[in-house]
């Protein structure tokens, strides 16, 4: 009888361990899911980092050409701030607009190298 009681207790203990292992497995799955989400965030963050870097480079070129635009500078600052705050959609929109404006400023700088001469009163 004692042997039987010990056997039952051992079985219950093993079952309990099995359940606890299963629960532990489920608990581990949750961080695995959130890790997948973080990877997506990182990908977005990498995208915006690349866009901001491109916008910064083009803005620096317009500054070097002495044709930088204030609106471009402001958009770039906003894009940096929005990215830090986690508003990726707006940050991307601002960075893309900053890139577009910097390209226009560079076109202006290039065109004006000669065009100004035609405006001097004769």
């Amino acid at each position: 009888m004692k042997k039987l009681t010990l056997l039952v207790l051992l079985s219950l203990l093993l079952m309990a361990c099995g359940n606890s292992e299963q629960t532990a497995k489920q608990t581990n799955t949750e961080p695995a899911e959130s890790k997948t989400l973080t990877s997506t965030d990182t990908a977005e963050s990498t995208d915006i980092d690349g866009l901001i870097q491109q916008a910064e480079d083009l803005y620096a070129q317009s500054l070097a050409a002495k044709h930088a635009w204030t609106v471009n500078r402001d958009l770039l600052k906003d894009a940096q701030r929005l990215a830090q705050d986690g508003d990726m959609d707006q940050a991307i929109a601002n960075a893309e607009e900053a890139i577009k404006l910097a390209k226009l400023a560079l076109i202006q700088a290039d065109a004006e190298k000669d065009l100004w001469q035609k405006r001097v009163p004769q």
Binding site: K66, W69, T70, P121
Partner: protein, 274 residues
């Protein structure tokens, strides 16, 4: 020298002359433009800026001139001008006994191959006498400049362009004036030649002829006396261009060009503007 060499030399001379602009021809064409736009305004009146081309604004301005807001700046500038440096010397040791020398500035200093504005000269005087330079745009430097401008009243601009390097600085200033910049895609000319006399919101746009005669200026929007480079910066910002530093080569060259355009005109600074 044989004939072929002589002809080659002549051709080179002609080509070089054609490539180089003549500042005096520029100045006359500049004046002509405003004379055509405002035939009823005497050339000498352009020293009064926008008040030369609008009778009602002129009346208001003349009333303001009875008790001008820049008067305190002149008094304080005079005191600063006459206060000896720590070494016992004064500004007079740099500029001579007569502080009325603004009509000669900007000058082109051949030794450093740069345009030197009056403000740069004042700070150079300080540094030569072991004093710290003053901030460019407002405050004590603008007050000293206001006193020197007041002492220069009645004299006429006599700006010199005596070398190829000076001419290059002048050309750079001219290029700046006629170059479109900022998101608005404006040149200085867009407002001050093409739209001169038109309204920009509540303000009438001033002519560039005589632009440099009356600085520094007490502006109502500033509530203090400031230098012309502060106004250059504001103009750039208004067309959404990133402005240059005060007393940068760009703005000094622009001031050199603009002042040459007003050569021969009487100085009447400091001024007051709305």
């Amino acid at each position: 020298m044989n004939l072929t060499k002589l002809i080659a030399l002549l051709l080179v001379t002609v080509v070089v002359s054609a490539a180089q602009a003549d500042p005096e021809a520029d100045r006359l064409a500049f004046r002509e433009l405003y004379q055509q736009k405002f035939p009823a305004v005497d050339l000498a009146e352009f020293k009064d800026g926008v008040y030369a081309i609008d009778e009602k604004m002129r009346e208001q301005w003349l009333e303001m001139e009875d008790f001008p807001a820049y008067e305190i700046a002149i008094d304080e500038g005079e005191e600063l001008y006459e206060t000896p440096f720590a070494n016992g010397k004064t500004y007079a040791d740099c500029f001579g006994d007569d502080p009325g020398i603004k009509h000669n500035y900007p000058i082109f200093d051949e030794s450093v191959a740069e345009v030197i504005t009056l403000e740069v000269a004042i700070n150079k005087c300080r540094e030569d006498n072991a004093e710290k330079p003053l901030p460019w745009l407002v405050g004590e430097l603008a007050e000293i400049s206001a006193y020197m401008a007041f002492s220069t009243r009645g004299k006429s601009f006599d700006i010199k362009i005596d070398s190829a390097a000076a001419q290059e600085a002048y050309e750079n200033g001219k290029q700046f004036y006629y170059t479109r910049r900022g998101q608005m895609n404006f040149e200085c000319r867009s407002c001050h030649q093409q739209n001169v006399g038109h309204m920009l919101r509540a303000e009438k746009i001033s002519p560039s002829l005589g632009h440099t005669t009356h600085w520094p200026v007490y502006r109502g929007s500033w509530q203090y006396v400031g230098n012309i480079h502060k106004r250059f910066q504001e103009c750039n910002i208004q067309v959404r261009a990133v402005p240059f530093e005060a007393q940068s080569a760009e703005y000094r060259n622009l001031e050199y060009f603009l002042t040459y355009m007003s050569n021969g005109m009487e100085l009447n600074g400091p001024g007051s503007r709305r």
